[in-house]
């Protein structure tokens, strides 16, 4: 079932088109990656989901009906441009933001206590925000985002400003939230974290969705018949064999062990390929190269830009 759905969203700003016929489908209980280069329209779409803007046309669905203003209480949003009142005390501020999301004072205090203990930051309660480091502020912001236990969470570049240890802590928290049933929309440029976290993605470029689907399916689709083999023997011999039917992408040598990446030109099964290779030396390792999200991102976006340029 889909927790959130956007259908045919159009949004024009004064002098440019921000979103053109964009649709996304976010399955319940999954992590959904909203990807795209800077200025593609991701933030606009996220702001539309948060009802900061209204779309010019198109429809938004939440749970079983249309998205309505009161649903803001069921969404937790960590914007890319985020901050806190510098002169306000941490605890007071967390309480304020929680109450704006509709929590009662008692509820908010109880939950804040839980999270502050969990992150071991009780000592910050009476400190002013300006006394905290950037990473510390990010923790407070994360807590405030998830405090009201919203079924839909939206994280825009959540890892920026975190050191590797805290980024890891955050990653685990996000996975934990997913396990507890939350649906998460996750926007980032960090493709490594997309591979680690996301189930489905939509890639937006120049106001349009150019790629969407389950991450495994997408990677499968973008396989380019590339294999990597490690073997003991003579490189020349292998090269001679491969040059006709295969294209060598990359080769590295360490003592007698050669690592070769090559692309298959002819269609053949893995077994057939291995049979050919086995005659040339001792095989140490063999695997098919599945493209990273980073490769796919670059390839698809550049391809789409070229296509547009031709038009």
């Amino acid at each position: 079932m889909e927790l959130f759905k956007a259908e045919n969203i159009h949004k024009n700003f004064v002098d440019h088109v921000a979103l053109n016929n964009v649709s996304i489908h976010v399955p319940e209980g999954s992590i959904f990656g909203l990807l795209g280069p800077n200025g593609a329209g991701k933030t606009t779409l996220i702001r539309i989901i948060n009802q900061i803007f209204a779309p010019d046309s198109g429809e938004l669905f939440f749970k079983n009906g249309l998205l309505r203003p009161e649903h803001v209480a069921q969404i937790g949003y960590l914007p890319e441009e985020r901050g806190l009142y510098k002169k306000m005390k941490v605890g007071e501020q967390a309480l304020y933001l929680a109450r704006l999301k509709g929590l009662s004072k008692q509820d908010a205090l109880k939950r804040l206590k839980y999270w502050f203990e969990k992150f071991e930051i009780q000592a910050w309660w009476d400190k002013k925000v300006e006394e905290l480091s950037k990473g510390m502020q990010q923790k407070v912001q994360f807590i405030v985002t998830v405090l009201h236990k919203p079924p839909l969470l939206i994280f825009d570049e959540p890892f920026s400003g975190f050191d590797p240890i805290n980024a890891n802590l955050l990653k685990n928290e996000i996975l934990q939230l997913k396990k507890e049933g939350a649906t998460i929309i996750f926007s980032t440029h960090n493709m490594g974290s997309v591979e680690e976290l996301c189930d489905n993605i939509s890639l937006i470029n120049k106001a349009e969705v150019i790629l969407e689907g389950h991450i495994d399916t997408i990677r499968e689709q973008h396989k380019s018949n590339t294999f990597e083999v490690k073997f003991l023997g003579l490189f020349n011999k292998l090269e001679a064999t491969l040059s006709s039917e295969y294209e060598i992408v990359e080769a590295t040598h360490q003592d007698d062990i050669h690592s070769v990446r090559f692309r298959l030109i002819k269609q053949m099964t893995t077994n057939e390929l291995l049979t050919i290779l086995m005659k040339k030396g001792t095989i140490v390792g063999f695997n098919e190269v599945i493209p990273t999200m980073n490769d796919i991102f670059i390839k698809v976006v550049e391809g789409s830009n070229k296509g547009n340029d031709l038009l």
Binding site: N50, I52, A54, Y77, P79, G83, K87, Y96, L97, R99
Partner: protein, 448 residues
Amino acid sequence: MKTSIVLKREYLSRVRKRSFIVMTLLSPLIMAAFIVGYAYLIFAEDTEIKNIGIIDESMVLFESLHNSDIIKFELLAGKSIDDARELYTKDELYSILYIPANVVQSKRIQLFSEKQPSQAVVMYIENAIETYLEDKNIVDAGISREMLQSLKVKMAVDTIKWKEDGEEVKSNTGITMGLGYGAGFLIYMFIFIYGAQVMRGVIEEKTSRIVEVIISSVKPFQLMMGKIVGIALVGLTQFLAWIILITLFSWIGLALLAPDYSPEQVMQQNPASSVMATQGVPQGMNVTDISMEGDKIQKLIDSTLNSINFVAVILSFLFYFLGGYLIYAALFAAIGSAVDSETDTQQFMMPITIPLIIALLVMINAIQNPDGQLAFWFSIIPLTSPIVMMARIPFGVPYWEIGLSMGLLIATFIFTTWVASKIYKTGILMYGQKVSYKEIWKWIKYSS
């Protein structure tokens, strides 16, 4: 409601600030110190008993000097001016009065002391001797004092207002002008001080990047209105605290410094007669004239105060005070949303500052000519009306004019807030852009 949560934060975060508390306590303290100091100068000196020794070579004039509550005269019989210095220290006198033998011709007497004697004492002596000698002259001339009094001419212009119900009320233009000016100026100050606070608050939310977090929970309009109303309450709190504290501090100060005089007496102290008491009597007036003149002025003040419809003044003050603030506060919020830092606000401040400064200039004219064309039009035009109309109201303004002015003010408030909220909504999410008027015009036209 969410707006009230925003409002509460805006209010409490400002009211609890150290600078607010210091300002709220310190300003009345300074004001009260002035009031108490002023009152002290008038009263405190008078409570001390002053012994004045008289060396009278004319041998008659000392009879004219009668003891008052605080001035005691003592004839130093048989002493000459050469002994004065010695006597002064020995007898702990306040001062020594020397009346030379030829006083009637020279009309000069001398008062010796180490400190500058108070003006009140000098006046007392002058008046006593003048009256004495005058009486003597009158008798010598063969007429009576009553006759002299009847020959004197003293002109005064009483200004009388016809109220709508036909009642005649004596008024004093000076007091009415002062009241109008004070009220108009307070509104001007309030708009600038607290309007700027709204603007700074918006800029703070923008630069700290908290704004997007908040508007994912509340509508930008709610955030803006929460801030504007919250800050209005901060302003009202401060003014109210000032009024109460100034009164309280003055009361306490006066009670401590001048215990013989009840605060009521100080408050009712006739400003006109106290000015005369300290600055000397106008020529041609004698002691009885002073008190008569004082009474007259006191009556006139009472009559003026009665002639001003205080309920109307206070109610319309509250209305224009808030209305004036509200139309400008929304504009201040819009400016704050369009810029990235306070230094960029300059170019957008012009449209706000110009009507306010015009209003202030027109107000100065309006208190002199409250029913002129200039005063009339600018008290109707909404951007200047809070200040100009307030200056006119103590003089009495027809109800239809007040109604028109208030109606337009409310309409303008709705309009400026609507325009401002459009700018605000777009502006708060714009970072790192130099915004021009053209750009802002696009934001207004653009509807989301």
